[in-house]
């Protein structure tokens, strides 16, 4: 039975024919819209043509659509992870399989990560089985402060993974930026400003001759034109409060910049300034160690304090492929019961891994919640999705039900019984 299901999924994958989005109504579950509102008991979610039509209490089931009973289950938007290497890596430490960095490349800002996305990579399948449906994939580990252009992807098993190529540019400031720029933050800012100025010159005269003393290749400088003109967000990795303030000050010289702060372990110390600038933050959720001198003030209360200070903060920058996104959000809820700590309410914590990151990416109108018009990215869970003991029952992306099978689930099936039977384990599939 299990084997047959797997074969069917395999056949669908090989033939390249994606399953069709099905019009449906998911009824009876505890519905989480994902926008920071409270869960709705016995709500209904209606999906048509791959998009959410309506979700909530008292939503009528349209005639003729399939009805999926989710009684006793939780129904949520798919989780959104921001700043990850999903789709770029099969095995992190196997260099040949890892496209997340390009330390020896002749280009930096021009690097376009969308060319390398592999929707069949196992980390994508595992993330999907853990309820992740969209991701902002960042290039990390080039030889310059500009890491290149990231993409927004879905985690579906169909070949069309890229939701938005060249969705953002990524720059390292802080300790990493200092190292990459030649040894100091001073150098990082000189490199950054020079690069943005070169981009400006190209923006003003796209076909014109360039100065003799340019440092960037034309391709790299041209790739920064959408950044300096505000058409492409600039993700800035900073941790230290002083670095956060310096990054925000860039808007003085380059007013069109659409900044997004990434990491921001000491964000709580600069919450007022971040909130005033209206810059969204993708914060690493549970950093509480002075792992580097640039994060001496790290605390798990960072996200809660920033949120309380009016910062548009969501979770991100997790690194690695551990499917712990929901666990991080759950921990922020736990803080609400700890004296002197600041966490997030359950509703806000869930939003911080769904609509929050989608909005930080500038795509909150496309996915990340079950509000009408968003992509039909829906996850059905067997319990509270933020509780580590809960699991995923079904995943839909753009209204298409997804396979939850992967390398891990096949191994689990094979080793439910440990000793060999009448044939070697290799025949059990």
């Amino acid at each position: 039975m299990i084997a047959r299901t797997a074969l069917g999924a395999l056949a669908a994958l090989l033939s390249g024919t994606a399953a069709q989005a099905q019009d449906m109504a998911i009824t009876g579950g505890r519905v989480v819209i994902g926008d920071g509102s409270a869960p709705i008991e016995g709500g209904t979610v209606v999906i048509r043509a791959g998009k959410v039509v309506a979700a909530g209490a008292g939503v009528a089931v349209p005639p003729g659509v399939a009805v999926l009973d989710a009684k006793g289950k939780w129904v949520t938007p798919g989780l959104v992870v921001a700043v990850t290497d999903l789709g770029l890596v099969d095995v992190g430490a196997v260099d040949d399989s890892n496209d997340s960095g390009a330390g020896k490349a002749p280009f930096n800002a021009a690097l376009d990560i969308s060319a390398a996305i592999n929707p069949a990579a196992q980390p994508v399948a595992v993330a999907r089985a853990n309820g992740v449906t969209r991701a902002a994939v960042a290039p990390l580990g080039t030889g310059a402060i500009f890491e290149g252009q990231g993409a927004v992807i879905d985690t579906g098993s169909d070949p069309k993974a890229v939701t938005a190529p060249r969705a953002f540019q990524y720059v390292e400031l802080g300790e990493d930026g200092a190292r990459l720029a030649g040894g100091s933050r001073v150098a990082a800012y000189a490199v950054l400003k020079n690069a943005l100025d070169e981009a400006r010159e190209i923006a003003l005269a796209p076909a014109g001759a360039r100065r003799d003393d340019v440092l960037l290749t034309r391709r790299d400088a041209a790739a920064l034109v959408p950044v300096v003109t505000g058409r492409q967000p600039l993700y800035v990795h900073v941790e230290r409060a002083a670095d956060i303030r310096m990054a925000l000050a860039l808007k003085g010289d380059y007013p069109a910049l659409k900044l997004v702060l990434v990491g921001a372990s000491e964000g709580w110390l600069a919450a007022r300034e971040i909130a005033a600038a209206g810059v969204p933050v993708l914060a690493t959720p549970l950093n509480d160690l002075p792992s580097r001198f640039e994060q001496l003030a790290a605390t798990q209360s960072n996200v809660g304090r920033m949120a309380a200070g009016g910062v548009r903060v969501a979770l991100g920058a997790y690194g690695g492929n551990s499917p712990a996104v929901a666990q991080y959000a759950g921990n922020l809820v736990a803080l609400t019961k700890v004296p002197r700590a600041t966490g997030l309410s359950w509703d806000k914590a869930f939003a911080a891994i769904s609509s929050g990151p989608a909005e930080a990416m500038g795509m909150g109108d496309r996915f990340g919640s079950l509000r009408a018009g968003r992509a039909g990215d829906v996850v059905i869970w067997d319990g509270d999705p933020l509780d580590v003991r809960s699991g995923v029952v079904k995943v839909f992306i753009d209204g298409v039900e997804q396979s939850l099978g992967n390398h891990q689930s096949r191994l689990k099936d094979r080793y439910q019984t440990v000793p060999e039977g009448s044939l070697p384990k290799a025949y059990d599939w």
Partner: protein, 471 residues
């Protein structure tokens, strides 16, 4: 008092061993023995003794709590009494309890009590925060076998990580291991999670030493890159086996009273062969674990625990048969080739096979959430049709962990006479929403979420932004 006990015990061990050596060398007279032979035989086996002493604690009575005692028992509406630094009583009724008049009484209704959490795989102190190059003291990667190095000589007792492990993770004891760059990485040290000015002040009294070994990718990569052996898995085994052969020869010479000089590396290996030092073996793949078990038989030692062991679920029967614990993560996966077959059901499948499960961290963040990692593994097991009660899951980071590092006679469970190492949680510790409210070590209250000053702040954090923050 405590100090004297430790010293006496150390002396007793030295005497016992000296006695053995003397017996097998009976044909020699004392006169004929050179000073070198004596030195090689009668060395101090405990030259950096623990100076840890329990801090004063008040007798404490918790009533009305759900108690997971670490041995697999759950007591609803339970009572726990700490007195004299020890667990004095655990049960469901107040009857027969000799509660001192000045005992602190805690209403535990709605709360949960477990033994202090134990992490069998930590690098706190040897890879401390901040993680700058100057602090990188965990791997002596200049020789593939370094049984002569001792982790305690690298531990920085001011690592801020200890405080997070206590306050957020309820960790009261932990084993600090050398890294996995070497086949034989050196001796581990078991610590009480209590800050001290010296590492000796943190050492768990009378805990046995462990020795770190590592299979697979790391040693062959590190030394292959240096153009020397081992550069393959077969090279790993060849170097290990040759080293064990030497160790057996050394031990035989020692027992015959024929050693001419001391050899720190061989002393550690001989201690393993004597059964005094426990092998803690980093090993991911099932096939390699099976080979290591045969190597252990060939050389005459026992593997106490396989660490990381992401493929342990493939050989649960073998691990059970050999009485080896698997110290594992809940779901770390795919970051290197030898972790590619990790499954989140690893713990559940091992439990089903009757093998020993320990949840470990190997991480200064993960050590703050061992309870959650265990709960995650419990959830994955349930979905695979393996239902494991909470009180059993608690063992994975308490009693089983204590067994895997050889301190189970002292801690790891709430049984009368054991150390007063205990956590009061503000909810079920297997829920992501729960945190430690109070943590006791040897009966002393060393963390209290309700008391801003009752939390440790390491020297490093003084005067820095965030000093004394909730973290």
């Amino acid at each position: 008092m405590k100090l004297r006990t430790v010293l006496a015990a150390g002396a007793a061990i030295s005497l016992a061993l000296a006695g053995t050596g003397g017996l097998s060398a009976k044909d020699k007279t004392d006169k004929e023995e050179s000073a070198a032979v004596k030195a090689a035989r009668d060395f101090d086996k405990n030259p950096y003794p623990s100076t840890y002493r329990p801090y004063p604690g008040q007798a404490t009575l918790i009533t009305g709590a759900t108690v997971f005692d670490g041995t697999g028992k759950r007591i609803d509406n339970g009572v726990v009494l700490l007195r004299g630094g020890k667990v004095a009583a655990v049960g469901g009724a107040m009857a027969d309890l000799d509660v001192p008049a000045d005992a602190v009484r805690i209403d535990g209704r709605g709360k949960f009590v477990t033994p202090g959490v134990i992490d069998v795989h930590s690098h706190l102190g040897v890879y401390p925060s901040p993680g700058v190059d100057a602090h990188s003291d965990g791997n002596e990667m200049t020789n593939p076998t370094t049984p002569d190095v001792w982790a305690e000589h690298s531990v920085w007792p001011q690592d801020p990580g200890f405080s997070r492990a206590l306050a957020n993770g309820g960790v009261t004891s932990l084993q600090i291991l050398p890294g996995s760059g070497n086949l034989m990485g050196g001796r581990s040290v078991v610590l009480k999670n209590v800050y001290a000015r010296t590492v000796q002040g943190m050492k768990f009294p009378d805990a046995p030493y462990g020795m770190k070994m590592a299979c697979g990718e790391n040693p062959k990569r590190v030394y292959g890159a240096k153009g020397r052996m081992p550069s393959t898995r077969m090279g790993n085994f060849a170097v290990n086996r040759a080293t064990w052969i030497k160790a057996k020869e050394y031990r035989a010479k020692r027992d015959a009273g024929k050693l001419e000089s001391r050899d720190l590396a061989m002393e550690t290996l001989a201690g393993v062969l004597d059964g005094d030092i426990k092998i803690q073996n980093h090993c991911y793949r099932a096939d390699e674990m099976a080979l290591v078990l045969d190597m252990a038989k060939e050389a005459g030692y026992k593997v106490t625990a396989f660490h990381h062991a992401v493929e342990a679920y493939k050989i649960g029967d073998l691990l059970k048969e050999n009485d080896v614990c698997s110290a594992i993560w809940a779901d770390w996966w795919g970051f290197k080739m030898e972790s590619y077959d990790a499954v989140p059901e690893n713990a559940g499948l091992l439990y089903k096979a009757g093998a020993c499960v320990v949840i470990h961290s190997d991480d200064d963040n993960g050590i703050q959430r061992l309870n959650q990692e265990a709960a995650k593994a419990q959830g994955s097991a349930r979905r695979a049709g393996i239902a494991i009660p909470d009180e059993e899951v608690i063992r994975w980071f308490t009693a089983n962990a204590a067994k895997a590092i050889g301190v189970d006679k002292d801690t790891g469970s709430l049984e009368p006479g054991k150390m007063g190492d205990m956590v009061l949680w503000n909810g079920n510790p297997l829920s992501v929403y729960s945190r430690p409210e109070k943590v006791w070590v040897d009966g002393a209250l060393l963390f209290d979420a309700n008391d801003p000053k009752r939390r440790p702040v390491s020297d490093f954090e003084l005067g820095h932004p965030g000093e004394g923050d909730v973290k």
